[in-house]
Symmetry: C2
Subunit: 340 residues, 2 copies
């Protein structure tokens, strides 16, 4: 078999604040042949997700940072182009955490098949994948919306936010979505079925949010932080739940924002409203994966949950697309089409 | 029956920051005779608790503020001196929420008997009462310490903190207590059986806390806020739980402290460590009262839970004692002996 050349995007330097194109570097190099139990994979789609910003920093978190010079992490849909494992054959489609590269060798134990229901296959990285599961487990285990309650989510046209709103509706709650710009806001009600939608960039955003939540907020699914959280906090009801899933508004911060220090005020609200603020990552609820796959597959098949993708062609465009993701430039789940 | 004169301490003005004696006023006036279904009560002990500071402010909270000119709220142990209800007789001892006054008329439906196990009867306001129950339900429902885990609590010689530490020990956890001053710190290990104890006023408090918690902190029972919380936060383990029960360090604040704003940092910690931060008040867990009474009564009887009281004589001294309570001047559960 001819030696295969892989394109890889490595972390060239740790970003200070907003990542720059020069924080990434495109490299090419040969891929080793797979050994027993391994698969040679060709990446078809690479998922880009906000959590990746955390991996670029040296700060301690739940996962190790990407080393300087190492391939950026990420989940992909890939095609098996050579197999040294009995369970996989050439042409099989798998999910792998092989990162920002066109080809790689992975142990068969580290991949799993793309579910048959993933149609197109890139949805295995979105509504039927990690982002959809994140919404499902965060709402199911922490948010726990009851019929008639109000659920608020930001970045609501993104893969997590749009699933949060739609699952909340399926559970009988009222869903209010927040997004940036008129086009996305319109999509929230027209495409994703949110009960109300608003633009966090509007000068009267706080007033509009209060008007959109006349009975207060029972669940705020936190994936952005920043000004949205500030506007949400006074509207939270007694016993409201705040699953904390992401803080994209803060990922590029290099220092704490100026004062006053609002921690005492936040803690007072936690106490007087008996809030539950709980952080989670998707892997904390691995027991829910089977239920997620069953329910979400049915919902998508039956048109009860819809989704939107923002597909960018070419691995070389991943850095720019990722930089835009942190600013909300994408519209729907951002994936890079690495190979046709 | 001769008309009875009651002494009452009313809220004269809403404190700005730390309460002053002039924010209170001692009044005397006649008490109406009890009508059918009512009891005339003579207060024996009045409980003073930090939550009362909240009732002095107009700010919205879980309970309504005390009106200017109204009797300060609070729970008391009282003796029935006249009864118009078949279930109660003269001389019966009851718990009532009759406030900072020497006598009052209460509907029988609003009082309950002092439990037989309360010996002395003032413990019905402390270890066997609301503070003990607060510790019990906050640990049981939110903190959920597992054997071998580390539980940290501040104001640890107080009635809530000392119960938190001792219950944590009974559940098999390691208890680290924080208090102000060498005498209290010594009592934590020698009297209350904490595994380790430290003084939050020490200049190297942060380092000492880290040294006292070599395996990190799994449960931080939050009843003070301020610098203790700042020192605790970096030591919290993944999946740590923070029951938020009080924030006495902040009750006298008139404005948010200077910056930077540490809310984003706190939320990052919540996310990356998957913390649960949850506010509660004791009445949220009314279902646990029977179990509390059974377990805590046995623990106190068997000497497994000990307690300390700080008894101040005279209703007229309640304002000064309360002002001191917010500064940590008391040593143990603060009660006012209103009548012998």
């Amino acid at each position: 078999m001819a030696e295969i050349q892989s394109s890889r995007i490595v972390l060239a330097s740790r970003p200070e604040g907003e990542p720059k194109p020069s924080d990434f570097r495109l490299e090419r190099g040969p891929v080793a042949a797979p050994r027993d139990g391994e698969l040679l994979l060709e990446t078809l789609f690479l998922s880009l997700d906000p959590y990746m910003r955390g991996r670029m920093s040296a700060a301690k978190s739940y996962a190790k940072p990407v080393e300087i010079g190492a391939v950026m992490e990420g989940e992909v849909v890939a095609r098996v182009i050579a197999s040294r494992h009995a369970d996989y054959a050439e042409g099989d489609l798998v999910l792998a955490r092989s990162g920002w590269q066109s080809h790689s060798v992975q142990p068969a134990s580290a991949v799993r098949r793309v579910p048959d229901a993933a149609e197109p296959i890139s949805t295995a990285l979105g509504v039927l994948g990690m982002p959809g599961l994140t919404a499902y487990v965060g709402l199911g285990n922490i948010g726990k919306p009851k019929p008639g309650e109000t659920v608020v989510v930001a970045a609501a046209t993104g893969p997590v936010g749009s699933a949060v709103g739609q699952i909340a509706k399926l559970r009988g709650a009222r869903a209010v979505g927040i997004a940036g710009g008129a086009t996305k806001v319109r999509a929230l009600t027209e495409e994703f079925g949110f009960d109300d939608a608003l633009d966090h960039r509007a000068p009267d955003f706080r007033e509009k949010l209060a008007a959109a939540c006349p009975d207060g907020i029972d669940v705020y699914f936190e994936n952005v932080g920043g000004g949205v959280f500030d506007a949400v906090l006074p509207l939270l009801n007694t016993f409201a739940r705040v699953p904390v899933c992401g803080l994209v508004a803060h990922y590029n911060e290099t220092a704490p924002p100026p004062g006053p220090d609002r921690v005492p005020g936040l803690m007072r609200a936690v106490l007087s409203k008996r809030l539950t603020v709980r952080g989670f990552i998707v892997y904390d609820f691995a027991d829910d994966i089977a239920a997620f796959e069953r329910e979400m597959t049915a919902w998508v098949r039956d048109g009860k949950v819809t989704w939107r993708e923002d597909v960018v062609d070419g691995l070389e465009n991943a850095p720019e697309a990722f930089i835009g993701l942190l600013k909300g430039d994408n519209f729907g789940k951002l994936v890079i089409r690495v190979a046709p």
